[in-house]
Amino acid sequence: MQILLVDDDSPSVEALREMLEYEGLHVVWVPNGLEALRRLREPNDYCVILLDLMMPVLDGYGFREQQLQDPALASIPVIVITADGQAREKAKQLGADVFFRKPISPPDLLRAIRQYCRYEPGPTASSTPNSPNS
């Protein structure tokens, strides 16, 4: 079970990768939509795509359009992670399953990922789901 992380901001990616790997998830990162499509066309077992929207070369919208046109790729669930103020509307336009607006809530993101990815939850899962800072 792998997660495909599509985002061009390396500090974000680094922090997110550390958080996910601590949970026992395996993360593959690409910096834009074009690279994401390339990876998806190789043999893979991505359970979910974490998609940023503002990226150079091919942004989140462009990526999603092409993903949906390809039957082999269209069914992979997408979680939109965006700084955009219209996050809800944008996610709806994209037909994304879930969206998070930056700055995200880590426990909420982990809970969302667990809906798509079957893996052994790491140490964080044992803390209370509604901790005050979530």
Binding site: D9, P11, S12, E14, A15, L16, E18, M19, Y22, M54, A83, D84, G85, Q86, R88, E89, R101, K102, P103, I104, P106, P123, T124, N130, S131, P132, N133, S134
Partner: protein, 350 residues
């Protein structure tokens, strides 16, 4: 002719100057005796040399030329923008023998036009830059906030003492506050420049209220406030959802902040031709003298020290309500606290 402010010049059909008034002397710098008998082309800059045929051609056909804007050159070599009116001159038998020209100096007007165009261009560039800034700024500011929050979370996981965990939790909360403040600042910047774009669509106000209350449940319980929603029926209208979301979030956030741990009540009602939302708290209330002032930019009902924030939330809310054609305010209540209300027509602008 002698007392006219406009230069009046006569010429033959071949363009030889036959009369020259004092205004022409002032405009072009040539005294009458030094220009009479010379060709009119003396006054034309090289790039305007086809003017002569263009004008005289029409004169020969008996046509009048009016408001012909062009450029002439004075004796000392200055280029002067002028507007010309040229009429045919006929002899006693009705034959066209020459042309009478009135030349008006329009350099003042030309300068003003050029200035106006320059200012317009600058303003347009300014607006473009502002719009780019606003759309990029939000993204640019939230991205490091996101990283900060994630790293705090990562840090928190490796700590053992409860005090350390509490400190990290507080830091994460501050990041959320920063993000909210950034949003407000950008909203104000956009609205102050008149750039608030609405996207009205059919929606249910009761559903939105329930949504916002659910989202603020954590903040409310942390402050010891319970929120009760009275919105039994759908209240449908055509409004900008994210705008109304912002208003409700702001009113609830204030109610929690100033509610002193007492219950908060949100009521959504359909009215004839519109809808009303009321947010009632039982906290410190709003003095009558402050009831209008708190909606102004940067105004606050209390001191900065005790309650953080920029004092923009209610001003933003008012901009959005006004854009919908509605009303927002706070009215007196029995007992402690305050009740804020928002009234909206059932569709934007009606």
């Amino acid at each position: 002719m002698e007392s006219s402010d406009d230069a009046i010049i006569s010429k033959t059909l071949d363009g030889i100057i036959t009369s020259w008034n004092p205004a022409a002397e002032r405009l072009f710098g040539y005294r009458a005796e030094e220009i009479l008998g010379r060709p009119i082309s003396v006054l034309m800059p090289p790039e305007r040399s086809d003017d002569m045929e263009a004008i005289l051609g029409r004169i020969r056909r008996g046509e009048k030329v009016d408001h012909y804007e062009t450029v002439r050159v004075s004796k000392d070599g200055r280029l002067i923008p002028v507007s010309l009116s040229v009429s045919p001159v006929k002899d006693g038998d009705g034959r066209i023998v020459g042309a009478a020209k009135i030349a008006r100096d329009i350099s003042g007007r030309k300068f003003a036009e050029a200035e106006r165009e320059r200012l317009l261009r600058e303003a347009q560039q300014g607006v473009q830059l502002r719009d780019i800034f606003l759309s990029v700024a939000g993204h640019e500011l939230r991205t490091p906030l996101n990283t900060l929050k994630l790293q705090l979370f990562n840090l928190g996981r490796s700590l053992t003492s409860p005090q350390q965990a509490a400190a990290v939790a507080k830091a994460e909360h501050e990041v959320d506050r920063l993000a909210a403040l950034t949003d407000r600042l950008l909203d104000v910047a956009r609205m102050a420049a008149g750039g608030f774009a609405m996207e009205p669509a059919p929606m249910d106000l009761s559903e939105l209220a329930a949504d916002v209350v659910a989202r603020m449940a954590n903040d409310a319980s942390r402050a010891g406030c319970s929120i009760e929603v009275s919105a039994p029926d759908p209240v449908i209208g055509t409004w900008d959802r994210s705008g109304l979301d912002q208003i409700l979030t702001n009113l609830l956030s204030n109610a929690i902040k100033f509610g002193q741990g007492h219950p908060i009540r949100v009521t959504v009602e359909g009215l004839r031709g519109g809808a009303r939302v009321r947010v009632r708290d039982y906290g410190i209330g709003v003095a009558e003298a402050d009831r209008e002032r708190i909606f102004e930019r940067f105004e606050r009902g209390v001191s900065e020290r005790s309650f953080g924030g920029l004092g923009l939330g209610l001003w933003i809310a008012q901009q959005i309500v006004t854009a919908h054609g509605g009303r927002i305010g706070v009215h007196a209540v029995d007992g402690p606290g305050a009740e804020f209300f928002v009234e909206l027509p059932d569709r934007v602008g009606s």
